[in-house]
Amino acid sequence: MRAIALAGLLAIPSVLVAQQSGDLSTPLAKSKQYVSYEAEEQAVKAGKRSVVEMRFRVMDGYHVNSHTPKSELLIPTALKLDTADGVKAEAVQYPAGTQYSFSFEPGEKLDVYTGVFTVKVPVTVVAGAHTLIGALRYQACDNAACYPPKTLPVQLVLKAK
């Protein structure tokens, strides 16, 4: 158990900020995050259906519910992308989760993402550069406790030739 008195002596954990890299001038998320996303420009063929991948990383020591958690009370990981002119995005495809149970209660199964998980988005894009703004909603836990649901702002940057 994490007694607060002891926890106070421990180092401040990851006040994790979503990392957006390269020349992409995405504003940094200021709230504590347990999932990060690195935006990369993705090249697709103009006018052709392509499936682009968005890679998310769950911080070490944490897990988030998969898109299809075992209980209706648990909050699923879900990506929402806004519409953008010249981009037709289809339904987001989520990876399967990994089964997990707490050592205290092996009978209670959870379905989670850990480490890197990739979400696929089928798109058809007209020629040019496009940016889809969106957000990943998730709810993280560690091995003993859970954190309130979070929203991670994301950008999907597409260049169609």
Binding site: S14, G61, Y147
Partner: protein, 211 residues
Amino acid sequence: MRKAVVLLVMVVGVTLMLWAGWHNLRERKLAMQRANEARATLIPDKGGDAAQGPELEGPKLTGKVAPAFVLTNLEGKKVSLGDYKGRPVLVNFWATWCAPCKLEMPWFEEFRKQYASQGFEILGITDDADAGKDVISKAAQKAGVSYPILLTDGKIEKAYGATDYLPMSFYVDRNGVVVEETAGLGTKDEIEANIKKAIASGNKTVSAGGE
């Protein structure tokens, strides 16, 4: 001759039983191994970011008087911490989306019955901002709890420093003083030890109140 046949049957019978037992044990071990391989090794007990512990914001309450509150229960009645003056109380923050919270709630219920004669009570404060009363009620029912479930007023978490990490528990003695506070799921033994600590602490001559 007849004795030899009986003996042979017995030997064969015992051998078959031993073999069946060994085979069963082997199958169980293999099944356990397969189950463990299918399960992710998610969280090391030590090491990694999570092992550094949560960033706990807000006041540390151990040794201080528990912040007073008046909240509404699932039946719509106002419930105050003051109603329980003179009784040891466990104030537990939980949420419907918090799996570890729901693991310990049946333990709480068990201890509530076990220590009821000593005036022990539990107040479960749900930290769900979005969940409706029905969803909260359903989750509490599923966890098998019958102790009062109170709805947050949006301020109580700040008063107790329970804003960003669940479950959190505050063990309050008969005098209304917090004798122990914990963040995260503990073992059943640790929870019972904290309950005993709350029961043992404080002035026992104060009359019992509450529901």
